[in-house]
Structure formats: structure tokens, C-alpha cells
């Protein structure tokens, strides 16, 4: 099989399109590149959807945690503590078995036991908690002058939040939030190593990489391929978030814009 034929056969294998059987022996480099790349579709899917949906919940949680009213503050604090204080690995396991138990109660939960929804829900809650903590920190460091200026203009309530507090919060939080996004994408590799089944071997990039490593008993090819894909993904994220960072800081002089620095501080 030529390499192009391999790409046609396995390029969308992780979605169940194309050749049904995975290669079993005489693995070529092309097959490894194609299948691991095909698995990346899942990593991007999980990361992207969790990030976008988590962003909104995170904003709400951060505002709730900064609220003086204990009925709002306490639940937000507990939510953030539970999801930041325990390993994501255990959260996946717990989530999967929880959905499995709920499935026998009501058929509504059927879809939650498969990875595309169940794992996404867990990741959504998890990234919300981590981002909420970042946003909460940013809310606290909003310069007093900004809010005072808003007060002086007679803004209050929603317009004050939307026009002054929220943009400033995002601006301050953005470098840390970029790191959160990167590590969220890395965390997506855990999904198929916890309870969530990879139906008909439709897995993510790490799933295929470990498949090759197990079959060939040679970790020196598939894992570096995986690493290459993830480094590329990381660079794309940094690029996109950098563009947004510039847009957020458009009004500032060029040399005052805070550069996004990569900090390796999260395994979940």
C-alpha cells in the first residue's frame, strides 16, 4: 500500500471511517503517522469543546467566588476545590462509573457512558474549575482606578461588568489562561486510559501510539511522533492565543503588553 492509500484508508479511522481493521504487522512509518494523526481529531475535539464551554462557566464561577454573598460564594469555592484538588484521572474514572450507574436509572444517561459526551462533561467541569481560579485571581488584581473610573461615569451593574471589569479581567488572566488551554489539550490524552471505552478501536492519538508501542514493543517511534503532533498543536494554541492577547491589549503601547510565557505547572 502506498502512503497516500494508507492516508485514505486510515486518515479518519478514529471516527470510524475507512478501513475497519487496524494494521497488525509490518507497521510502516506512514501508518503510524497517519493513525496517530487521525487520533489527534479526538484530542482537538475534546480540548476545543471543553475550552469554549468551560470559558463561560469559568467566568460565572469566578464572579460567584468573588461575590460577598455566601450563598453564591460557597458553592463556587467548593466546586473549584473539588475539581482542582483531585486528580483528573480519578475524576474520569468516577465520572464514568457514575454515568454507568445513572444509565440503569434512566435511559437519558445512555450517551454519557460513551467518551464523546461523558469525558467531555468531565473535562468541561475540570477546565471550568481551573480557569475560574485564574479568572478569580485576575478579578482581584483589577486596578482600582479602572473601577473607580467606571463609577465616575455612572456605570453600574451589567454595563460596568461588561465594559470594564470583564475585559480587564481577561486581559490580566490571558497569559495564565493560555497555559491552562495548553495543558487542557494535553489532559485530553487521559480519556481512553480511564474507564471510557474506545468503541471499535476509535481512540485518540495516545491510544494509537500505545497500540503501536505494544505491538512493536518499540516505544522509540510512536511516542516521538505523538510528541511532534502535540508540539505542533501547542504552537498553534500559542499562536491563536497570542493573536487574541494582542487584540485584548490593542489600546496599550506595544512594550507594555505582557508576553505569554509557557509555564509547565499542571498535571491534573
Amino acid at each position: 500500500m502506498s502512503c497516500w492509500e494508507t492516508v485514505q484508508a486510515y486518515g479518519l479511522r478514529s471516527l470510524g471511517i475507512g478501513e475497519r481493521l487496524l494494521p497488525r504487522n509490518d507497521f510502516t512509518l506512514c501508518e503510524q503517522f497517519t493513525l496517530i494523526g487521525s487520533g489527534m481529531i479526538w484530542n482537538v475535539y475534546f480540548g476545543l469543546f471543553a475550552l469554549v464551554s468551560g470559558f463561560m462557566l469559568a467566568t460565572a464561577l469566578a464572579v460567584a467566588k468573588a461575590n460577598p454573598n455566601p450563598w453564591l460564594r460557597k458553592p463556587a469555592e467548593w466546586f473549584i476545590f473539588i475539581f482542582r484538588g483531585s486528580p483528573l484521572f480519578i475524576q474520569f474514572f468516577f465520572g464514568y462509573f457514575l454515568f454507568l450507574s445513572l444509565k440503569s436509572v434512566h435511559p437519558f444517561f445512555d450517551a454519557f457512558t460513551s467518551a464523546w459526551l461523558g469525558a467531555l462533561v468531565v473535562l468541561f467541569f475540570n477546565t471550568s474549575a481551573y480557569s475560574a481560579e485564574i479568572f478569580y485571581g485576575a478579578l482581584h488584581s483589577i486596578p482600582k482606578g479602572d473601577t473607580e473610573a467606571a463609577d465616575a461615569y455612572g456605570m453600574s451593574g451589567w454595563p460596568r461588568f461588561k465594559r470594564v471589569i470583564w475585559p480587564t479581567m481577561l486581559r490580566l488572566a490571558w497569559p495564565a489562561y493560555t497555559n491552562e488551554a495548553i495543558f487542557l489539550f494535553h489532559a485530553t490524552t487521559l480519556v481512553f486510559f480511564t474507564g471510557f471505552p474506545a468503541l471499535q478501536q476509535r481512540g485518540d492519538a495516545l491510544y494509537y501510539a500505545s497500540y503501536f508501542a505494544d505491538k512493536t514493543f518499540n516505544p522509540f517511534v510512536p511516542y516521538p511522533i505523538l510528541a511532534m503532533y502535540f508540539i505542533m498543536l501547542t504552537l498553534v494554541i500559542i499562536g491563536v492565543f497570542g493573536l487574541i492577547n494582542r487584540r485584548l491589549n490593542k489600546h496599550l503601547p506595544q512594550n507594555q503588553i505582557r508576553k505569554i510565557r509557557l509555564r509547565p505547572n499542571l498535571i491534573r
Partner: protein, 298 residues
């Protein structure tokens, strides 16, 4: 009472309620489960200093004036940033295993002429197998655990190298210049001036790393160690009366809930302790934290 419980546990069918639960939670497998928590603590106790040593070495190498060594240190720090950590865990466990067997093979069987990689197999001579095929079970387990510890140490060494490297650069440069002016050699400057002062700057990062390390311990499961995740899956699964004295439906959810609570308590306690240490260390320091403490006192 103790005798009574032991006696009663021999016939679980007759039990109900609390006494059933007491008997159930003290079966041999459950004791192994509790022992696995010890494994997690042991892993933490061994890995933390090992990772610090790796990190210190890495940070020293990155600062080195010998260019290749500096590249090596920087590369070590940089590589873990872009790639998911579990990929490293999965990679290093096999790579280390094969590396060790390869070295032993070269030493013990120098006149072996077949290639090591035959298709999908990695074949070394019998004497180079790690552990040896005829060694007892506990050696296999200990070997697996040591591989896991080494893997953790390499990955977390890179994290802590990054923290320590940053801390070394945070020490005010005037301090080093003063040391030089006193005629200290670079080596003396490093050990007598830089290292004692860097810890204050390193501690917040190292505390953060400790929390990360705690949360990484369930990954032991992926490295093939019989840890708490393994036992929770094993014990929680539905059991029929045919195979066990204590039949129950699928309880894995509750077992993982227990693990969740365990980790939450563990991180909370660590948070409190780290907070205390930090407060103790900032006392009297010329930093913003120390200044705040002084103001709070007066």
C-alpha cells in the same frame, strides 16, 4: 468482641447491615487495597527527593558555561513542556526497561550475534533479562515499582529543574557580583552565595510541584503497578455469589468516590502545611510577603 467478629466473618451469608460491612471491609483483598495507599505514600517519599536531585542537576547543567552541557540542561527542561506528561510516563517505562536490558545484554552476552529487534520483538539473551525469569514474585513487583519511581523522577525532575533554574536567576545579581569582588571562584559563588539564597524564590514553585506530584500518583496504574486505582476497579466490580462470600452489585462508583475524597483530604492537608512553611520562611525576609507580615504585627 474481636473474636466474635472473626468468628462471624466465616459465614457471611448470615450477616447483615453493619456487621456484614465490617467483615466485607476487612477481607484479605481489602487489606491489600489499604496497603496500596502505603505504596502511594512510599512513591511520594522516594520520588520527591529523587526529582529534586534530577531537577538540581538539570538546573546546574542549564546554567553551565560548557555549551553542550547547557544545551542538554535546557533541552531537558524544555522537552516536557510541549508534550503530554502521560506520553512521557508510557514512553519512559518501556524505554528504561529496554535500555537496562540492552546494557546488561552487551555486558553479559558479548558474543550474541542475532539482532535485538526481530520484527515486533525485542530479544535479549536469557542472562540479561530484567528481572531474571526465575526470580520470585516480589522482585518482579519491586522492579516494576523502581521503574515507575525512576520515570516519575525523570518527568518531575524536569519540572523542578525549571523551578530551580528560575529561582537561581531570581537571586539578585549584585549578590553574585559581590562574591566575585571578594575573590570567590565561580564554584564558591555558586555553592556559598547562590544556593543558600535561592530557596526562598524556589519554594512557591516547589510547593506547587508537590501538589502536582500528589495528583500524578494515580498514573502509577498506567505503569502497571498494583496501586489504589487497580484495587478500586478490582474490588468495586460486580461480584456474584458463585465466586465470593460477599456478593454485591457494581460498586466501582463508590470506590472511586472514596479515592476522590482521599485525594481531596491529602491536597487540603498539604495546602495547610505548605502555607505554614511559607509563612515561617517569609518571616523577616526583604520581600513583599515579609513586609506584609511586619505590617500585620504592628
Amino acid at each position: 468482641m474481636g473474636h466474635f467478629v472473626i468468628f462471624a466473618c466465616t459465614d457471611p451469608q448470615t450477616l447483615s447491615g453493619l456487621s456484614w460491612l465490617t467483615c466485607y471491609l476487612t477481607t484479605g483483598k481489602h487489606l491489600a487495597f489499604y496497603g496500596a495507599f502505603g505504596t502511594v505514600l512510599l512513591l511520594l517519599a522516594v520520588t520527591a527527593p529523587a526529582a529534586m536531585a534530577f531537577g538540581f542537576g538539570g538546573a546546574m547543567a542549564a546554567r553551565s558555561r560548557i555549551l553542550p552541557l547547557s544545551w542538554l540542561g535546557r533541552g531537558y527542561i524544555a522537552i516536557v513542556r510541549g508534550v503530554p506528561d502521560i506520553a512521557f510516563f508510557l514512553f519512559f517505562v518501556i524505554a528504561l526497561d529496554q535500555g537496562i536490558e540492552y546494557l546488561r545484554h552487551k555486558i553479559k552476552c558479548p558474543d550474541w550475534d542475532e539482532p535485538l529487534r526481530q520484527g515486533s520483538d525485542f530479544i535479549v539473551c536469557q542472562a540479561a533479562k530484567m528481572p531474571l525469569g526465575n526470580s520470585p514474585q516480589w522482585i518482579h513487583e519491586a522492579y516494576g515499582f523502581s521503574l515507575a519511581v525512576l520515570t516519575f523522577a525523570i518527568v518531575f525532575g524536569a519540572f523542578s529543574a525549571n523551578v530551580l533554574y528560575g529561582a537561581m536567576r531570581a537571586v539578585p545579581h549584585a549578590q553574585l557580583e559581590t562574591a566575585e569582588a571578594y575573590g570567590m571562584s565561580p564554584r564558591q559563588t555558586f555553592w556559598r552565595v547562590l544556593v543558600p539564597q535561592m530557596w526562598v524564590y524556589a519554594l512557591p514553585g516547589l510547593g506547587n510541584l508537590w501538589m502536582v506530584l500528589i495528583k500524578a500518583t494515580p498514573l502509577l496504574f498506567l505503569l502497571g503497578v498494583e496501586d489504589i486505582v487497580y484495587w478500586a476497579r478490582e474490588l468495586g466490580g460486580a461480584k456474584t455469589p458463585r465466586f465470593t462470600d460477599f456478593p454485591h452489585p457494581d460498586w466501582r462508583m463508590w470506590y472511586f468516590l472514596a479515592l476522590l475524597v482521599f485525594y481531596l483530604c491529602f491536597t487540603r492537608v498539604s495546602e495547610i502545611v505548605l502555607d505554614r512553611i511559607m509563612r515561617r520562611l517569609t518571616r523577616g525576609q526583604a520581600t513583599a510577603g515579609g513586609e506584609a507580615q511586619r505590617k500585620a504585627l504592628t
